[in-house]
Symmetry: C2
Amino acid sequence: MIFCNTIGILPRPVRTFLETLPECIAEERQRMLAVVELSRLNAVHRTGGPFGAAVFESATGRLIAAGVNLVVESRCSHAHAEMVALAAAEQRFETFDLGKHHTTLELVTSTEPCAMCFGAIIWSGIRRIVTGATGSDAEEAGFDEGPKPADWKACLEHRGISVMTEHCRTEAREVLMSYRDTGGIIYNPQRTM
Amino acid sequence: MIFCNTIGILPRPVRTFLETLPECIAEERQRMLAVVELSRLNAVHRTGGPFGAAVFESATGRLIAAGVNLVVESRCSHAHAEMVALAAAEQRFETFDLGKHHTTLELVTSTEPCAMCFGAIIWSGIRRIVTGATGSDAEEAGFDEGPKPADWKACLEHRGISVMTEHCRTEAREVLMSYRDTGGIIYNPQRTM
């Protein structure tokens, strides 16, 4: 019984790029730049919103699973990059709790999580997150971050999830602004526009 | 490209019950009692957590899609009843925005949404939610609701989503307590326990 069938569904340019990556990415900066490249590829090929995410083993940088925003393509409002990456990691390890992995797993995401992904991060059992562009960058590009608690970082830390923000923010933000400037679809639900 | 493959994956007792329902359930109370029955069936058959949800057309009571909690069975921490029901409704209408439907759609859920589902409700475009048991009932049963804003109802109303809470709360709460008292799995991630 599979709820989230994320295996093999990433857009072709994203899959092609993933095949070029080494099994492990030791440096944190290089992990984020890889994730930003996922967001850029998704944006320029118009396969989804300008967001990318991936789950890595913190200590080794081993890439476990990757995701990009698939809301429009998959006709699923849940299909944010973080959700796709987390669901794929859970499928790979056949568990609903990534906290059970023998070593710390981290979610690297090109933009801060929205209100939904903030909650999903907690339920996934992931123990660390690293973010690039800020929520205000995403909003400047036209996206809605939703009513996430103002102290969202403290909320995560309180639950044992370490948080690093604004990592390679310049590069991550550039993808958002370029998407906006080239007329990419802003897929907020109609009601809130 | 399908992200959330929810068609045909509901547990058999749930599907069998759904087949007995009329196409439309005119009374709001009967809609909630049907959703509570989904939660009960999922709990007693040990096919998932004691939570059910469904999307209806508000005016007619036409049942659009149903969901139950599938976190453990599907090995997916996102697979809360509300997420399953919303994703199935989006698939049925082939849209990521249920707000585009020609008439108001509502999510009826046996328990108040958690922090993740709170965000997901906003992105789904749904225009009304009706809840049964409260977040505190769920917590009393051992589940974690997560850091949802204290003014979550106002947050939804502010975005044009009407909210009715504690509808058939007694019946909905009873399922949670029975699940707890019979030793049902509490699937919170390991880290937060």
